[in-house]
Symmetry: C2
Subunit: 315 residues, 2 copies
């Protein structure tokens, strides 16, 4: 007989998660509380599993000493890495489920660019039959800064569309959809000749301002930069300069050093820039519940958990 597990769900979507998990009718899993804010959680609740949004989880960890495993609903776990917080539990984040959604976001903008959708719509409004030939992703080169679960999915999508794929990664070498791998000091070789540069690196001390004026200077002038990783990876003022001086053709940003983007930020007025509001990969409760369920199967059978976070590396 396996032991009884007590789960607390702490998320703005807590009730939806409860429903999705209850469908599974796990015999040994008891949902002892669902809450949308930390204040609703009683101290010393006998909870060994916590499933929730990273920020909310970080606020209750100290009062739940029995927690052995935390599954976050976010990819980002920065709030849980803060100095002074407990690290004596298994932390798993929401990684894989974002790949397909990120691919939709990234390739939506890549195709928008190739197919000149805005320009064609402008022609349409002027009643002009715009017979200008269209571009194509086929044969173009994409550079993936970071080849984690998101980068791997972007690589497969790029291959589906017939692109050449360069990957820059500290550790990954296993993705067969990446045609050429780069690491460390190879950053210039990686960047030169790219049609598209897409960042999906996590926020660590090593990735801070990696996309700076030097790196942007290596890109061809027709290149497009897309950031779905973290705002801190980009030197924002260097990017504004590169866009304003047309050193690169455009950028698509879903993440920023400060979010929401402040009203006075120069990005609002920077040319050839698309801004979205950290919505590239919305956490769909259904997918996140499925991830929790998969990991709970593993947890209850003492199998290795998916997407275990290394507290030292920070991802």
């Amino acid at each position: 007989m396996s032991k009884l597990n007590n789960l607390i769900i702490l998320s703005k979507n807590a009730d939806e998660y409860r429903e999705l998990i209850e469908v599974e009718k796990f015999q040994n899993l008891k949902i002892i509380a669902t809450a949308t804010c930390p204040e609703q959680i009683a101290s010393e609740s006998p909870c060994n599993i916590l499933f929730g949004d990273s920020t909310l989880v970080s606020m209750v960890l100290h009062k739940l000493p029995d927690v052995q495993w935390v599954q976050t609903t976010w990819a980002g776990v920065e709030p849980l890495l803060k100095q002074g917080l407990r690290r004596d539990y298994l932390l798993t984040n929401a990684r894989v489920v974002f790949g397909p959604l990120m691919s939709e976001y990234v390739f939506a903008y890549l195709l928008l660019h190739e197919r000149r959708i805005f320009q064609r719509f402008e022609s349409q409004q002027k009643q002009i039959w715009d017979a200008a030939i269209t571009g194509s992703l086929r044969g173009k080169t994409i550079g993936l800064l970071g080849v984690g679960s998101i980068g791997v999915h972007l690589a497969s999508t790029a291959k589906f569309f017939g692109m050449h794929v360069k990957g820059y990664s500290r550790t990954s070498r296993a993705c067969t959809d990446v045609d050429q791998y780069f690491q460390g000091a190879d950053l210039q070789d990686f960047t030169c000749g790219l049609d598209y540069l897409v960042n999906s690196l996590p926020n660590t001390s090593e990735t801070r301002h990696m996309v700076n004026s030097e790196m942007l200077g290596w890109l061809p002038s027709h290149a497009i930069f897309v950031n779905v990783g973290r705002g801190s990876t980009v030197d924002e003022s260097a990017l504004v300069t590169a866009l304003s001086k047309r050193q690169i053709a455009g950028a698509v940003l879903d993440v920023f050093e400060q979010e929401p983007l402040p009203q006075e930020h120069v990005f609002w007025k920077t040319p050839n820039l698309f801004i979205t509001s950290h919505t590239s990969a919305p956490s769909l409760p259904k997918d996140l519940a499925l991830l929790f369920i998969e990991n709970y199967h593993r947890y209850s059978q003492n199998l290795p958990l998916l997407h275990l976070v290394n507290f030292e590396r920070g991802y």
Copy 2:
């Protein structure tokens, strides 16, 4: 020893095709003429192979009695099916090469819709942090009206993005990316519940005005219709009504009953409609030359040609 073949290239891109074919250094293939208009072709030229744009080819066939095989650079072969024209030769059209390009076009607009790119850009211009959640193709249902080489590629792209795929086809049943096949009188079952309806049917007497007010009425009000097949498949005034009364959410049209779209056409002012100018799958000379080369290999070895057109069926 195989016999000598005499080729005429008749296309607006004739010179580019010549270069691309000459690279192959075929021993028994002689390019006896390249031309961009029919008047440049001498009567009774000893030509047994003709490679060119369908309309141009239709204008010279009568003066080239030795022609045994025509490879068109277009998917459409309507000009060659007109009454009174010769049918005593092998006709192959440009079919396969359009699949990936059509997929780029169709999914560019599907992703544009799901990701609310226009709406988000509008928010950006107003300096609004637009945190509205985004849609996703995953789990949505696409209906493919026509499952030829283009439909098959659309099906594979839809599957890549995690969609459910319904296919309506007279003959095809073989595409494993199609989850449910429909035919004949099943049109209503096929149409009901679709999130996206994409037409890639050829222009035949059977497909004329197939997308009419009745069929549009079966679509859910949030559905989007995309036409990359032929304009004649759509009852254009029924579509204007459906869009104006918001019976469906939008349409994307690359083909029209009359092209270029006349200045006075109501489509220019119809709401929720994207118009492009028959540019969804540009004929890239490189790809079409590769198709000709592949088929020439087959022709010279008496193997079955790819994409042979049945004059009776019309495709």
